[in-house]
């Protein structure tokens, strides 16, 4: 187990290191240098030179990337060229909004998806099971930003049930919750499908297991068998899959934030791409991919803890 832990964490660190190098090289492979792209065509050569110096672009590439890595290790992601503030401050100020949105989405998706999957497995091949199956695939396939737009159109513009912009009044949890409903609905919808499918499949497997057969032989009521002996085991693989799902959730959250004008990493990134604000783009991408790598690593570790067979795969 310790060997697995060390190797898995080593892999995670290697992935982040390669990712940073790739991103950094990509930005430097731009035709024309970043300084002139940022300043636009009307900049004087002196202005360009000054910005190049400030961004450290006049130094050799290896030195630049070395100092960037050094900075990252110290928690310094560079300086925002538009607002002249540390990138780390800006990114970490936005991060909680995205994390709350992602957690709320996963939360409601699990609350709906697990019972649906469980019901499907218990009543397999019934009409209800088929309908839930088709719905699950549809939820997974529908483009998440289209869900955001239609949720806004129907429930906000049309019915006026929920607000369409922002995160609500600071210090007023009720207003904040109301602002969270539609974005979380849009981000979580496809996960209702994923979770229902996963739970159904693993539930069917567990219901065929020996311990369930034994429980049946002892004459335990079906309800007790399902909820006490089968479901707790059937839910485990779903939890580990959620780690890998964080990437998709973040992508969906980007659109939900833009459609509902919510602050967060997605809005920040969108705005910074428009301004060609490289340091902020780099910082935001780095933080989200670290978040993603950490959650997949945690999911793998949880999986290894629960299932010894998974430890040998790496």
């Amino acid at each position: 187990m310790w060997l697995f832990l060390a190797r898995r964490i080593g892999l995670a660190v290697a992935i982040v290191a390669v990712a940073v190098t790739l991103l950094y090289s990509m930005i430097h492979a731009v035709p024309g240098d970043p300084a002139s792209v940022i300043l636009g065509p009307r900049a004087t050569p002196e202005m360009r030179e000054a910005l190049r110096e400030r961004l450290g672009l006049d130094r050799p590439f290896v030195v630049q990337i070395g100092s960037f890595f050094g900075g990252v290790l110290r928690g310094d992601l560079g300086t925002d060229i538009v607002r002249d503030r540390p990138v780390a401050d800006i990114v970490f100020a936005q991060l909680p909004y995205t994390v709350v949105l992602v957690l709320a989405s996963v939360g409601w998706a699990a609350l709906v998806g697990i019972p649906l999957g469980c019901f499907s497995a218990v009543r397999r091949n019934s009409l209800a099971d088929r309908i839930i199956g088709v719905l699950s695939v549809s939820f997974i396939a529908v483009p998440y930003f289209a869900v955001s737009i239609y949720a806004l159109l129907i429930f906000s513009v049309g019915l006026r049930w929920f607000p369409s912009m922002g995160v609500g009044e600071p210090g007023d949890p009720l207003s904040q919750a109301r602002h969270l409903v539609l974005p979380a609905f849009a981000v979580g919808l496809s996960w209702v499908g994923y979770i229902a499918r996963m739970v159904r499949a693993s539930m069917l497997e567990v219901l065929g297991d020996n311990h369930v057969r034994t429980a049946r032989a002892f004459g335990l009521p079906e309800r007790r068998i399902v909820f006490r002996y089968a479901l707790p085991i059937a839910v485990l693989p779903t939890i580990t899959i959620l780690g890998v799902g964080v990437g998709y959730l973040i992508s969906a959250a980007v659109f939900a934030e833009i459609v509902f004008s919510r602050p967060g990493i997605g809005s920040l990134l969108f705005e910074s791409v428009g301004q060609r604000n490289y340091p902020v783009v780099m910082g935001a991408v780095l933080v989200t991919s670290v978040l993603f790598v950490v959650s997949t690593t945690l999911a793998d570790l949880a999986n290894a803890l629960l299932d010894p067979r998974a430890r040998e795969k790496l």
Binding site: I15, A19, M26, I27, V137, A141, I149, G247, T288
Partner: protein
């Protein structure tokens, strides 16, 4: 469709027709096939079917609701939305076709290399795959747009790079599974080179799963194209795309719902159709793949 049905003795598929019959036996597979055919036909003949020039700005009514003349209404510049939706479908399918073809070929090449090459190369390629997968697609897309600028080429580049790992991993796993078989060893002993083994044994076994994966990737790619175009980071005006129609409509969502409805419904129906078809294809031809993903 259900994995728990009592297995019937597998009959060999008697060619194309038998496969088609099994594929359409299930209602969703039939819906997928018919809808995909309709979408592909309307995309191929988009310019012939479009009643108006999709990029012509007309003096007529703006943001008009559907009427006999403009079936899906007009947008904020007076352009015919129905014509734009048709041509937008063509753009979406072109992006999907071009980028999936490129991703399958590159993924296949890298997967074979990882499966057949030395251990260090295998590890290096796997690390590269894992790294690419550590970026959420949209985030990666936005980062690439910052560097390359928004365009159709950028969208294709993003899709190709982010989908290579999926194909590469499947190609690698299948290669490894075949490589260590005894009949390969026997053939090597009889003097067969790597080229012959690749051509006769490895490739035919990899192509099937890769093509099924590719068919399931179509809705994903269409979603990415539409998503980036919705953000204004994909297909550039005046070329219509379902994403940019949604983007235009979204700016006027409080005035009229029609452009948003007209841009979104074809997108949703198309992704659903390709997903149902892809699932039916997989369940019909390669049920094992379900577990590998």
């Amino acid at each position: 469709m259900a994995a728990d049905e009592i297995p019937v003795a597998p009959r060999r598929a008697d060619g194309f027709l038998a496969g088609l019959r099994r594929l359409t036996r299930d209602g969703m597979g039939l819906f997928g096939l018919v809808a995909v055919l309709l979408v592909v036909l309307s995309a191929v003949f988009a310019h012939q079917l479009a009643p108006f020039d999709p990029t012509r700005i007309m003096v007529g009514p703006r943001l008009a609701p559907p009427s006999a003349e403009h079936w899906l209404g007009t947008d904020q510049l007076g352009r015919d939305v129905f014509s734009r939706v048709l041509v937008g479908g063509q753009v979406a399918l072109q992006v999907a076709l071009a980028s999936i073809a490129a991703a399958v070929s590159i993924g296949l090449g890298l997967g074979l290399l990882a499966g057949l090459g030395p251990r260090w190369l295998d590890n290096a390629i796997l690390l590269l795959f894992d790294t690419v997968r550590s970026f959420p697609v949209v985030i990666f897309g936005l980062a690439v747009v910052t560097v390359l600028g928004p365009s159709l080429t950028t969208v294709i580049f993003v899709v190709v790079v982010t989908s290579i790992p999926t194909y590469g991993r499947v190609a690698r796993t299948q290669t490894l599974a075949i490589k260590n078989n005894e009949f390969i060893l026997a053939e090597r002993a009889m003097g067969a080179g790597t080229g012959r083994i690749l051509r006769v044994h490895v490739l035919p076994n990899i192509i099937g799963p890769l093509l099924i994966l590719a068919s399931m990737d179509v809705p994903v790619v269409i979603t990415i194209e539409a998503g980036l175009s919705f953000l204004g980071m994909g297909v550039q005006p005046p070329t219509p795309s379902w994403g940019s129609i949604l983007n235009d409509g979204f700016s006027y969502i409080r005035n009229t719902p029609w452009p948003v409805i007209a841009g979104g419904i074809p997108l949703i129906l198309t992704t659903l159709a390709f997903t149902f078809l892809g699932e039916a294809l997989r369940d019909t031809f390669d049920p094992k793949l379900r577990r590998d993903l």
